[in-house]
Symmetry: C2
């Protein structure tokens, strides 16, 4: 006898996929959540792992642990290699094909090097926990190498960090580095002087955090500069090589470059037979389904969604809202009802810059400085998945806050360097 | 003007090297501590990282952070490639040569595959934090793969774990696995049944934990069996291949093999021109110096030390005692006094087996079961370096103790697989 319950497959265990799965917990469906990692990642705090403040386990939790009590749901750790919307089948790298009746694609985005894939080796980006571990390793190794360097020039080159991209990730990274270099590390070094660390933030456009208002954006710039970051706007990287970044004719000597200059969508969007926007996002119908395939939905970063004619930003709250919306539309379809269009509710937008420094933009309110930072802190603790992590993150943060020390200064996996 | 203070170089930031450096904090010497990693590792708890209970950052601390307030000491993260005792020079991989007046070699040991170096890829060992991350990854991946496996045979092979070696590390690993598989994981899996996990401990000799008394050793065996471990003594692995372990003619099908069957000394011992024992340990003089080189000392695991004619075991307390002893002998030499012979004070020996199960052997007392386990816990919390880690370890342990859950079930670095 065939299984009478519709099979819903969700690709991706990020905010979009996880929240979609949770929205189906009481539905009469069989849910399969697929991710190529075993963990849900609390991405807004990823930069804190990259800068050795939090441990990787503080901001991750096994997806199957988060969904363990949801008996209609199974979790598979496999890599999806293709989607055939005609036969409603997904092909995977490590196991046989999977059939679905309804599909939610929530596979997000990766950082993009545009047409310079070779830059990835030199300038790691920050999307996954493995990325964060690599950045943490490079960041900490630069100081270690400065301590054994034999010339002052070499030492200065090793202590120069360039962050490419003035969006939220670039600003977060750039804002943390000087604080750690100047407050936490100096007593431990004898030859190198971590307080002489230079941090340069390169942004191609005219201002940092361009998704915020102009006034908040200039607040952010001023705060970055007060922290000791050299902010250079309208500065497009034209060449990257080991030991140097080029902006036009100017050569900036540096050992370590981090990349936060752009995203490209998950390649799975290309299998859906739907039009894509320039960044590879799938242009979805108002109900988040794929035109021509009412049983396939795309949510989160991978979807080009609009509300009131405005593009929904690729932020965590949009994934948290669109995932469950698609799930509820699937339930509507199963029950023979019509789907509802997605409306993004913008609850405000936050970006943190560094200790006591953040900006926040609400529909009719702008906040910056200390109040915005405490707000950021409060909201992120509230949203952090799972009680355990929240407690250990609180302890790490309290420790860092009062001592300026960093609790996770571990260099692992050097073999790859 | 030459530096008037004698230069003491310490190779290795483990218990021997770290404690030696600390013992020199008030000495009129310039101390250089060299390690190829950036961290001191609390090795007795390494198996807890391998089994996803503690995070790697819980049991590590940057060596330079631990020694930050010791102004006569610098820390270099470099790999030593050679020692020339004639010219008193050390060569390094990443920086120029270093000269010393006094040298303490505390570079310890690695796990050994004897004449089967090719087994390392199949059966990872457990000495470094990177090793522990690899074992954690293999352990967790086995369950993930069992969930997507298509046949019952394949599933059983994936859920069979073999631990080779019945010393403390092998027993700790084998004792943790069934508990996690049967208590923590089952609610999260739909196709695989983690409670059907088989754990087989293979020991080549006649009993597990052979450094303990026969009666404690049989207690340990019984407790392992109660936990669900199949203990096989006098079982020498004759062949290892992907998917199977061979003991003579018997083939044991299994996905995951962990290696805890033997140590070999750091290759640096060979540069000292001193006789080595069969395991590569340096036969030191009673004062821990190298015969013919009174300015070179070897401590910890790498030294073949004796007290009252008995060999000092390669355990953490022996490193913690021999490191400072060598340091004090160096001070004696500088002050024109004679060195003192090292006497190991055996304060007792502990081995943990699993929840509520451990054995402890003191000069005139043997303890096993729950009391030994609580004693083990208490002693390890006391010794764990650094307040911060101790607190977060306590929280993790309390969490695991009461909920049976594991807080660090993160799979990272899959690219290497």
């Amino acid at each position: 006898m065939p299984n009478p319950r519709p099979r819903v497959v969700i690709i991706g265990g990020g905010f979009g996929g996880l929240y979609a799965a949770r929205a189906l917990r009481h539905a009469a469906v069989d849910v399969t959540v697929i991710d190529r990692t075993n963990h849900h990642l609390f991405q807004p705090l990823l930069y804190q792992v990259a800068t050795a403040t939090l441990a990787p386990t503080d901001i991750t939790a096994p997806i199957r642990w988060l969904l363990r009590n949801q008996s209609n749901t199974r979790v598979l750790m496999v890599e999806v290699t293709g989607i055939d919307v005609a036969t409603r089948t997904i092909t995977c790298a490590d196991t046989g094909p999977l059939s679905y009746d309804y599909l939610i694609v929530a596979s997000g985005s990766r950082h993009s090097y545009f047409s310079h894939a070779e830059w990835e080796k030199i300038a790691p980006g920050l999307k996954s926990i493995d990325d964060a571990i690599v950045i943490r390793q490079r960041f900490l190794l630069a100081f270690e190498r400065a301590e054994t360097a034999t010339t002052a020039e070499e030492r200065q080159r090793l202590l120069t960090f360039v962050v490419v991209g003035g969006g939220p990730t670039g600003v977060e990274l750039a804002g943390m580095l000087p604080l750690i270099a100047r407050r936490a590390l100096p007593p431990e070094f004898r030859a190198a002087d971590p307080s002489s660390t230079r941090v340069i933030l390169l942004e191609g456009g005219p201002r940092v955090l361009p998704s915020f208002s102009e006034s908040l954006s200039s607040h952010a710039r001023r705060e970055l500069e007060e922290l000791g970051v050299e902010v250079r706007t309208s500065s497009v990287v034209t060449r990257l090589e080991r030991g140097a970044v080029w902006v036009g004719d100017e050569r900036i000597g540096c050992e370590t470059v981090f990349w936060a200059a752009g995203n490209e969508s998950s390649p799975l969007g290309r299998f859906l037979g739907a039009p894509l926007d320039r960044a590879g996002r799938v242009r979805v119908a108002p109900d988040l389904s794929v035109p021509g395939h009412s049983e396939v939905f795309v949510v989160g970063d991978l979807a080009d969604m609009t509300t009131d004619g405005k593009r929904v930003p690729g932020v965590a709250p949009a994934a948290m809202q669109s995932g469950p919306h698609a799930a509820r539309n699937i339930v509507r379809l199963i029950e023979g009802r019509v789907t509802k269009p997605f409306r993004y509710r913008n609850k405000g937008d936050l970006a943190t810059i560094g200790r006591h420094r953040a900006i926040a933009m609400f529909p009719s309110l702008e906040v910056w400085g200390k109040p915005a930072w405490w707000l950021w802190l409060f909201i992120h603790i509230m949203y952090l998945a799972g009680f355990r992590n929240r407690l250990s993150v609180l302890i790490e943060w309290a420790y860092s806050y009062f001592t300026y020390q960093r609790g996770a200064r571990l260099i692992t996996g050097r073999r790859g360097l």
